[in-house]
Amino acid sequence: MKTGGGMEKQETLSYGTYIMVWLALLVFTGLTVTAAGLHLGSVSIATAIAIAALKSTIVLFFFMHLKYDDPVFKVMLMVAILTLTVIMVLTFVDVLFLPGGPAQ
C-alpha cells in the first residue's frame, strides 16, 4: 500500500476503503453529538474540537488522498496549519490579557 517517496504514480483506493472511511466519519459524528449531550462542562469544547480534528484528518488522508500523495503535500499542509495556529494562539492570548475578560 505504501508508496515510496517521490513516486508520481497515484494509488487507486478500493471502493470498500472509501465506504469504511465514510462509516468511520458517521460513527465520529454520532460520537460528537452524544458527547455534547453528556454536558461534560469545560471538557466538552475540547472533546468537540478533538473529534472534529480527527474527522478532518480522516477526510484529508483518505478522501483528499494525502496519505498516498507525494509527501510535499503533507509538509505544505503542516506549514499552513502551523501558521494558522500561531496566528490564532497569539491573537487569543493577546485578548486574554486585555482588560475586560469574560462578561459573565
Partner: protein
C-alpha cells in the same frame, strides 16, 4: 500569434504543479475561515453563557442531518474520482450528479433553517434581537456570517462540479489540425492501418481540422483527472469546514 509553424503544439502537462496550486488556494480558504473561527473563539470566551443560551435555539437535528449529507457527498465525490481512474467514465459522472444533489439538499436545509430563524425575527440587527444580550447578538452575527460564507462555498462547489460533470460525461475528444501537404487526398486510418475516411481535397484547402472521439485517449483522460481531483479537493474542504462549524454552533447547549 504565429500559428503557421505549430500544427501539433507540444502539450505541457504538470499534474503535480496543478495540484500544488489547488492546495495553495485551499490554504487561503483556510486562513479566511480561520479568521472567523478566531472571532468566534474570542467572543465565546467573552460571552460563554450567552453563546450557550443562543445555541439552544438552533436546530440540532437539522444540523446533524446536514453533517451526514455533506459527509456522504464527500464519499460520492471520492468515488467519482476512483471510478474515473478505473475508466468508468459514465459511472463517475453519475457519482458527480449524486454529489451535486446532496449539495442542493444541504442548501435546502440551510434555507429552511435560516428562514425559520428570520421568521422568528432572529437576524443581525433585527428589532427583536437587539433587545437580547450582546453575546447573543454576536453569536447570531457569527452564525449568519460563517454558515453564509460556507453556503456560498457550497454554491460555488455545485457550479464547479456541474462543469466537471459535463466534461466527464462528454466523450473524450481531441481537436487535431493537420496541415495539407502536396498530396491531393487525405486518409484517416484506424489503429490497424485500414482507412476510416478518405477524402480528396480541393487545392484551396491548406489545413484540415478534426475532432477525434476516443475512449482510450490517455492525454485527455489525464488532463480531465487532474481537474476532477482538484474539484474534489475543493468539495472536501467545504466538508472539513462544516465538520468544525457543526459542533461549534449546534452542539454547545
Amino acid at each position: 500569434m504565429s500559428s503557421a509553424a505549430t500544427a501539433m503544439p507540444h502539450v505541457h502537462r504538470d499534474p503535480k504543479g496543478a495540484k500544488i496550486g489547488m492546495w495553495l488556494f485551499l490554504f487561503t480558504e483556510l486562513l479566511l475561515f480561520g479568521g472567523l473561527f478566531l472571532l468566534y473563539a474570542v467572543y465565546r470566551y467573552r460571552y460563554p453563557a450567552d453563546f450557550h443560551y443562543a445555541a439552544t435555539h438552533l436546530d440540532t437535528f437539522l444540523g446533524t442531518v446536514n453533517t451526514l449529507i455533506l459527509l456522504t457527498s464527500s464519499l460520492t465525490m471520492a468515488l467519482s474520482i476512483a471510478t474515473f481512474q478505473q475508466r468508468k467514465r459514465k459511472l463517475s459522472a453519475w457519482f458527480l450528479v449524486i454529489t451535486i444533489v446532496f449539495g442542493f439538499i444541504f442548501l435546502i436545509n440551510k434555507y429552511i433553517e435560516w428562514s425559520t430563524k428570520i421568521h422568528h425575527h432572529i437576524y443581525p440587527n433585527s428589532p427583536e434581537l437587539v433587545q437580547h444580550t450582546p453575546g447573543e447578538n454576536i453569536f447570531y452575527s457569527l452564525y449568519y456570517a460563517m454558515t453564509g460564507l460556507h453556503g456560498l462555498h457550497v454554491i460555488i462547489g455545485i457550479i464547479l462540479l456541474t462543469v466537471m460533470c459535463v466534461l466527464v460525461a462528454r466523450k473524450p475528444r481531441r481537436h487535431v489540425r493537420v496541415p495539407r501537404g502536396e498530396g491531393a487526398a487525405l486518409a484517416l486510418l484506424d489503429n490497424s492501418g485500414s482507412p476510416i475516411l478518405e477524402e480528396s481535397l480541393g487545392s484551396g484547402v491548406t489545413e484540415v481540422g478534426f475532432t477525434l472521439f476516443d475512449e482510450t485517449d490517455e492525454e485527455t483522460r489525464e488532463s480531465m483527472l487532474i481537474k476532477l481531483e482538484n474539484a474534489g479537493l475543493y468539495w472536501h474542504l467545504i466538508d472539513i469546514i462544516w465538520i468544525f462549524l457543526f459542533p461549534l454552533f449546534y452542539l454547545i447547549t
